[in-house]
């Protein structure tokens, strides 16, 4: 893969009245990759993104896009990217085509250029048939498609997607994922924020896990999982009363790395499941803690998330936001 740096974020800090939204954040995005910013709400993803799109000035540190500083060369930077905001930033009274025409003028395209590109984009997102209806008649998925078409209108080298599938149904999510993969195939660099683990896992070439305004870890989903090493043993118990005792009994054992208590069981990171399983079963027997279910797997992205932030993304995100 091309290792040209498309985006360089260096020691970025953003403070709001004593609250550090972003705290010494650094990462780089390579040309042509899909880069994910993964974290719960309030982790600093949106603040980082808004800095990159030149709408926030960092308290300290810098961000640059294709070598242009987002503060000093904001005008230049704004010509380089397309942006798909998190909210359905749609004017309900305008038609889909009128949205694109408006943006065409704002990117200073001539009428011919704009019309050509608009026709292509409407086809791409399959909105041709609905292009001349006011956006208030669109479904959620159609609005999202229009959002994406708006982001692509400047034919950007870099596309920023803020929570692209938040609140969409499963088929619409799949559709959006297809678009993103297709854009990557065309050579576009895509930066997206998400609080969906499966989305980050499936879609991103590399991702940064962000929590509390800091980068906790960075790498490809596969790298992150391998780096975690070992296996994860998950078990659930019949009665949770003995769970605490079992957890503390396991914590000292040599084959066991960490023990994380879940709602009605344990997630145990171990060197190797084959070696650890007998020890776990023995400990459970000794404590007369009856197991309901036991299973082991290679680390998944949620295990990576838990290992680096100390909590699961489900717990960290408000429930209203995680519902689909």
């Amino acid at each position: 893969m091309d290792r040209t740096i498309a985006i360089d974020v260096s020691h970025l800090c953003k403070t709001y009245e004593n609250h550090k939204a972003v705290d010494d954040l650094s990462f780089q995005v390579y040309s042509g990759e899909i880069f994910g910013l993964l974290g719960p709400n309030g982790a600093g993803k949106s603040t980082t993104l808004r800095t990159l799109i030149t709408l926030l000035h960092p308290t300290s540190g810098t961000a640059s896009i294709l070598g242009h500083d987002t503060v000093k060369e904001a005008d230049k930077v704004r010509t380089l990217f397309g942006y798909v905001p998190q909210e359905r930033a749609i004017d309900r009274f305008l038609t889909g085509r009128e949205h694109l025409e408006l943006l065409g003028a704002l990117y200073h395209l001539t009428k011919e250029e704009a019309n050509k590109r608009i026709a292509e984009l409407l086809k791409l997102v399959e909105l041709e048939a609905h292009a001349d209806r006011p956006a208030k008649t669109y479904s959620g998925g159609m609005k999202r498609k229009l959002d994406i078409a708006c982001g692509l209108l400047p034919d950007p080298k870099i596309l920023f997607l803020d929570e692209p599938t938040l609140g969409l149904d499963v088929p619409s999510r799949m559709r959006i994922w297809d678009y993103v993969r297709m854009l990557k195939a065309r050579g576009m660099t895509v930066v997206m924020t998400t609080n969906y683990l499966d989305e980050a896992d499936q879609l991103c070439d590399r991702l940064a896990i962000i929590d509390g305004g800091k980068v906790k870890t960075i790498g490809s989903p596969a790298e992150l999982k391998v780096a975690l090493g070992g296996d994860i043993v998950s078990l659930t118990v019949k009665e949770t009363s003995r769970l605490g005792a079992l957890a503390s009994a396991l914590k000292g054992q040599p084959a066991i790395r960490t023990v994380n208590t879940t709602e009605n069981g344990l997630d145990i990171r171990v060197e190797s499941a084959e070696k650890a399983l007998p020890a776990i079963l023995e400990a459970a027997n000794k404590l007369e803690c009856r197991l309901d279910f036991i299973d082991y797997h290679r680390p998944r992205l949620d295990d990576v998330f838990i290992a680096h932030t100390g909590r699961s993304l489900r717990d960290a995100a408000p429930s209203a936001e995680t519902g689909e």
């Binding site: 799109i53 926030l56 704004r78």
Partner: protein, 259 residues
């Protein structure tokens, strides 16, 4: 420069489209000041108001200037509403992330609000004409009225936009708006001349820029140039100061909100 006009043209067109798609709301916006104030209020007080006090042939002709400036007031104060919605649903962010001149969105809004207000003022003068009010200063006088309206409107729209950029929720925006509008009207010479007001009210009303605007528009409608000119001169000075203050505050609020 060509880019600048392209942006402003497209953004202004959007406001026009929005208004034209909201036919009901458009009708209501246009008709409300005439219906409520000029026709109902004007006719209601036709005999209750003393022409000795109003110094006008009848109450409607006295009120016409007030309704004109009230329309400017209400349109101006509401001028930021659409930007408030744009801010809340992320549309403003989308616009501001494009390579447009930072002032284009705001400028398009000024152009739109001023145009709509001017049209409304013309309609109001037309309705007043049907009730027998003939502007004493003719077409040039009407042009002067429009100019005064725009000078006042710019400052008001700037206040409204500053509020739109500063408020936390649109509930706050509308409560402040509701709180501002009526007192501004009552504490001005729109409905009653200052001389006929209780002392404390006329004292407050003379600091109201609206009073200055009305005192210039009224002689343009009722009396003629010789009486109107000194007031027109005064209101231009007052409005330059008023606009400068409002635009300064508006620019500050905008920069704070948009980085």
């Amino acid at each position: 420069m060509a880019h600048y006009w392209q942006e402003i043209g497209a953004l202004t067109m959007r406001w026009v489209r929005r208004l034209s798609r909201e036919k009901f709301s458009m009708l209501f916006t246009l008709v409300q000041p005439m219906l409520f104030w000029l026709i109902f209020f004007g006719n209601l007080f036709q005999r209750a108001a003393d022409t000795q006090v109003t110094q006008a042939p009848n109450y409607i002709s006295f009120l016409a200037a007030g309704v004109v400036v009230m329309t400017v007031l209400n349109n101006g104060l509401a001028g930021g509403v659409d930007l408030l919605f744009d801010k809340e649903n992320g549309f403003l962010e989308r616009l501001m992330s494009t390579p447009i001149h930072r002032s284009s969105v705001i400028l398009s809004r000024f152009i739109f609000v001023m145009t709509i207000t001017s049209l409304q003022v013309l309609v109001i003068l037309g309705v007043a004409f049907l009730f027998g009010v003939q502007p004493a200063t003719g077409l040039l006088g009407i042009a002067t009225i429009l100019l005064i309206g725009m000078m006042f409107g710019v400052g008001l729209t700037a206040i409204s936009m500053a509020m739109a950029f500063s408020v936390k929720s649109h509930g706050d925006f509308f409560s402040v708006l509701g709180f501002l509008s009526l007192p501004m009207i009552f504490l001005s010479s729109a409905l009653v001349p200052l001389a006929a007001m209780p002392g404390w009210m006329s004292f407050l009303a003379q600091f109201n820029p609206m009073t200055w605007a009305i005192d210039a528009v009224r002689p343009l409608i009722l009396s003629g140039w010789s009486e109107a000119l000194p007031h027109v001169g005064m209101v231009v000075v007052v409005m330059v100061v008023f606009d400068a203050l409002c635009l300064y505050g508006g620019a500050k609020a905008f920069r704070r909100a948009m980085g």
